[in-house]
Amino acid sequence: MKVVFKRPESMTENRMHYCPGCGHSIVHRLVAEVVDELGIREKIIGIAPVGCAVLAYDYWDFDVSEAPHGRPPAVATGIKRVHPDKVVFTYQGDGDLAAIGIAEIIHTANRSENISVIFINNTVYGMTGGQMAPTTLLNQKTTTTPAGRTPQVAGYPIKVCELLSVLEGSKYLERTAVDTPANILKTKKAIKKAFQIQIEKKGFSLIEILSACPTNWGMTPKEAVKHISQNLVKYFPLGVIKDTTNEN
């Protein structure tokens, strides 16, 4: 008999706590598959964020650290400076990375810290119960924008890849989504590319992943996936936003 599908070695057998339709479980698995394929399980160190994905360390079978809210890039910097030959990545949500941690991500990118960032953009705070995030779409209803986000009160959704693209230090920025099988495969490819860039010591990379939060969007998993395909990608265009890894 031939094995065609199995749990990646870099994943534990723990049952995930994520809601049905949540994108975290998909991306956790993609990270683990990439780690297996690159053979770096024994040299990778991840940083889990404050938020739903803090428990990523229960699901990945490699070294992981927590970090205070928004500070994973600073913690990753400390780890990477001590272990420049290990592969260090942060896994961050939109509240973590684009609100409370915007200073840390900008300066870490600007230093071209040789780390990879997996940035989950689901346009909402998950764990605290669906508040407005910096990436919340205009008119999107959240528990803190009950009538929908208006620019007059709450400004505009932040496009993180585009924001970071103006920094010399950011070397590879790509936005993907986990709404279709094709896009999930593209996401895996992007994560792999980010880790490879780091292994080749080419500097800072970030993969922004549009991901569903059906619970806080008030949608079924099916509707949530459609919401990504129909609405999110219009404001947050998919594709490679910046790639200077081939320049010297």
Partner: protein
Amino acid sequence: MHKKKVLMKGNEAIAESAIIAGCRYYFGYPITPQNEIPAYMSWRMPQVGGVFLQSESELAAINMVFGASAAGARVMTSTSSPGISLMMEGISYIASAELPCVIVNMMRGGPGLGNIAPAQSDYFQSTKGGGHGDYRLIVLAGNSVQEMANLTVEAFDLADYYRNPVLLLGDGILGQMSEPLILPEPPANKKLPPKDWALTGAKGRKKNVIRTLWLHPENKLELHNVNLYKKYEKIKKELLKYETYLIDDAEIVLIAYGTSSRAAKSVINKLRDENIKVGLIRPITLWPFPEKIINNIANSKRKFLVIEMSMGQMVEDVKLAVAEKSPVYFLGRAGGWIPNEETIIKKIKEIK
């Protein structure tokens, strides 16, 4: 090796002593009056193959310390009062994750932006928490450039031995003034526990996780709190540093630490010439606090005078230690001022 006497600013002596202690990672953000530490580290660290990184904020600095410590390295940051306020979040996480590191606070006047003059008004913040949750820092406070240098080397061993952050507490004077000193020897190779918890890649072992979140319904957080408490009790038993000066027959015992203890000590012999029997207890560990020695010598014939460069913070711990066995008086100056000899003598004669 370093036997020759050198003249150094306190800040520079601390920086060099950290290098002697084997610290190879420094992360910090500019703030007066400790800027000589990052400036020194910026050229010295590359010389010894270490890393100096000027962070974008104190928030980032303390979290870089978190990361480097989690990775198993000896690491230090330094700042001054407003910067410590910003680091308090990270310090709470570091204490919970039991990550060893050394944090220097060269105190300046507060609250708010205050001023850049020396002060001791961060005593509460240093010894009572400051950040959220049940945790303790080991707090070391010297009163000379030599002692700050010696304590710096010791701080790294204490941090590794107890897996606890250590706060080295000075002030603008101790940081800025130059004094002759003999640079300390490297740590005496005290038996330190292996850092088998550090993040180094899960090679040939199970994965390591550095965490502070304990959501489990089976009460793991309380267990964590109890374990931390046990560690703190152990530190209290094993680590206590203070200096006493002429306390046996003293009718008035001065209690002061750091810079203000120099002013306090300077009046003792003068007053003894006038047959006023004064002595001094100088806490060097502010946490754990030398409460037993204070309680042991407290009685109805003795008076205590606490002298601080604040409006009265350590005095509360002295009162707890004295437990109403003696009267406790207070003399403080704020805003960058130090109680001078005249003021101290006047106060002693008032309460005598």
